[in-house]
Symmetry: C2
Subunit: 424 residues, 2 copies
């Protein structure tokens, strides 16, 4: 039985209890959310070292870090380092998006070292292993999903909503299709003149997902790749298809997450979230950013944190990180850290804005330490204590001073300590 089937049968699983504990919620809340589909616990029956979490309505916003080698940059050692950094700096899930190297070796190694829910995009393996487009069959697509499910992957991105009906809607786009999986399926459908197998053979996909309790992350293959393409007919057409597939998955006992954009200007984010909620019946929304401008290459973690905070404050449940390397190159370890921290700031700010009980306790504690000029506690409570400590040390500040204000510190002056001189 999947987590969803067990929840529907009215029973609790150890995963539900563990996930509830992390949120400080009663397990029954988690069970109800799983039964309704508003929560998912990605937990493959074969992922033995998993520490389960819940993603969706009413729990903390979660963040995902993408890892993975590319044909240009293949190093299992570096991917292991990225995984360790993602875990250390606070990612809630990771995805291995490798398209280069020995994909099975990278995936199974990372998975064996990963207590976080672990996601993949199985179509990448098909793309990477094929010599030519003509060699790729519908069976290959299904078999890649089955293989990775057997390996213990907790959630898979499957671009089931990229259908032939959507093709005419792409004509006037500025950046066409920017999802690698989406672009591949479009190219495959055009080459063979056939429907997307992940759509046509969705029931087979559900069989695989149910067998291993793999959560389907229904991919946004037609997400906008620039502001000019945001909220267009192609994206919303796909979203409506994903909503229909969600109900079929739920009926089959399979857990679902819905993927979303992408590049969306701030004022269009609300409509995007509202339509997802309407079309997809409350399934958790997993957004990539969204990036509120196209010009921030080198700083897309910031553009993504801006859009992600607003999206999550309006109901998105799961933020895929964006790193400073986005649009430029494969991320390095430092990019992974920067991306994780930016997304955590966004998720936390959104938890506060949504009024999640207890979310602002962290802020209150650090502010009380700030008021008390208690630097050790402030640093320990910072979103990345390593960086805060390094900044503090590099300033060579003494005692309770900081080099910004010194004796003109507002905290001190407010306490009538203006006349105090530094011992220097």
């Amino acid at each position: 039985m999947t987590q969803r089937e067990t929840a529907l049968a009215g029973h609790l699983t150890p995963a539900m209890i563990a996930a509830a504990q992390k949120e400080g919620m009663p397990p029954e809340f988690i069970r109800t959310g799983l039964a309704q589909g508003t929560l998912a616990i990605p937990a493959n029956v074969g992922h033995h070292n998993l520490d389960p979490i819940a993603i969706g309505t009413g729990v903390r916003v979660k963040i995902n870090a993408n890892l993975g080698a590319s044909p240009h940059d293949i190093s299992l050692a570096k991917e292991r380092e990225k995984l360790a950094a993602a875990i250390r700096y606070g990612a809630h899930t990771v995805m291995d998006l490798s398209t280069g190297g020995d994909l099975n070796a990278i995936r199974t190694t990372l998975l064996s070292e990963c207590p976080l829910p672990f996601g993949t995009v199985p179509v990448y393996q098909v793309m990477a292993e094929a010599k030519r487009l003509d060699d790729i069959t519908a069976d290959h697509l299904l078999e890649a999903v089955r293989l990775q499910a057997q390996q213990g992957v907790d959630f898979v991105t499957v671009h089931c909503g990229v259908t032939r009906k959507a093709l005419p809607l792409l004509k006037n786009r500025v950046t066409g299709v920017v999802s690698r999986g989406g672009a591949f399926l479009v190219a495959w459908m055009r080459r063979f003149g056939r429907e997307n197998p992940l759509f046509e053979r969705f029931d087979e996909l559900l069989d695989i997902a149910r067998t291993y309790d793999v959560t389907l992350s229904l991919g946004d293959g037609l997400r906008p790749g620039c502001l000019a393409d945001a909220n267009d007919r192609a994206q919303f057409h796909e979203l409506r298809v994903l909503g229909q597939l969600t109900q079929r998955a739920w009926a089959a006992g399979v857990q679902v997450i819905i993927e979303g954009p992408g590049h969306v200007p701030l004022h269009l984010i609300k409509k995007n979230i509202r339509l997802q909620q309407k079309y997809c019946h409350g399934a958790p929304f997993y957004v990539l950013g969204p990036l509120v401008t196209d010009v921030a290459a080198g700083y897309d973690h910031i553009a993504g944190a801006i859009g992600g905070t607003l999206a999550a404050s309006l109901g998105a449940a799961f933020l895929c990180y964006v790193t400073p390397a986005e649009h430029l190159k494969l991320p390095e370890v430092q990019d992974v850290i920067d991306g994780v921290i930016a997304s955590r700031i966004a998720a936390h700010a959104a938890d506060i804005a949504r009024g999640l009980p207890g979310a602002a306790d962290w802020d209150l504690k650090i502010s009380q330490a700030r008021r008390a000029l208690d630097w050790e506690t402030q640093i320990g409570l910072s979103v990345n204590p390593d960086k805060a400590r390094q900044y503090r040390l590099s300033s060579r500040a003494k005692d309770d001073q900081c080099t910004m204000c010194g004796r003109f510190c507002a905290m001190k002056v407010f306490d009538e300590r203006f006349d105090e001189r530094e011992k220097d």
Copy 2:
């Protein structure tokens, strides 16, 4: 005659024409805004190398970079470097907040090298030069403003709204008063048992401001220093006082900007902006962040960009940057760059969200270059071409590739180039 007086008399100045040109607006639009007070052109009659800009409603959101030495970290050379970086990376204004070193030498040197509107907080000079609080008189405060106005400063922060009536409202605050100027005035009022001279002698302040056409940036001395203190009675009490002073300044022909918070959770930003608009009669709102969480020390430029984007999309006109060094130490040159870029992303994203005509043209151009795999144009159009180029070079990508996707590039696959192999 000040810019405002000239505008009220129905005439255009060279500054209005230059500012209008930068916005692609008719000069008459700028003149009307100045007359109504919804726009300001900070332009001291003695700042000879100034390239004027307009700040306020209907023009691009502007960003300010804070510079300045502290008693712990005094180097004119470093401050000149920071100024050069702020100009190079796209700040619209700078403020010299020095509290250490030869303040007049630093200020006049930076000012002579600065074509941007240049701001200061004159009370810092009083604080820095006094031996004890008891030595400081009301005259000192007014004289510091006069001295800096004579030196050519374009706008000054004056905490005129920190009055004795506000003191009882501060009792239950978590972080008390976090504005250095605000905390100093509270300490002064308590020590002497007298009213804030910048409030009591506001007409003298207006005389100085009118004489040199110094724009008054009415300081938010009681801004919240943590989420728990956001939108409290103390802040809104001060804001109401600033609204009354705004009308007196306008009646005297003096230009006004209103300063705002600070630390504000995302869901409370809207109320903050709406009350500023209501109390302050449409005067331009200049916010510091706002920071949407207290825990982001080391990454406060990101927390500030999130809050700043939302604030500016709702009507704030002017964003004071926050750097990664905030809450930890005096910023270095790299912090200045990071702060400027984060704020520019926020300002630009807000311009798009507000529907400013032409704001998204930049995004369209870079996206067209991205679709064409035209890397040189993409890099040139990035918010910081230096960083984008360095990332691209460090990846050692060849031809039209990037190391993220290589031949699996969605742009190429969408163009049916899946079967292309890299020449390697």
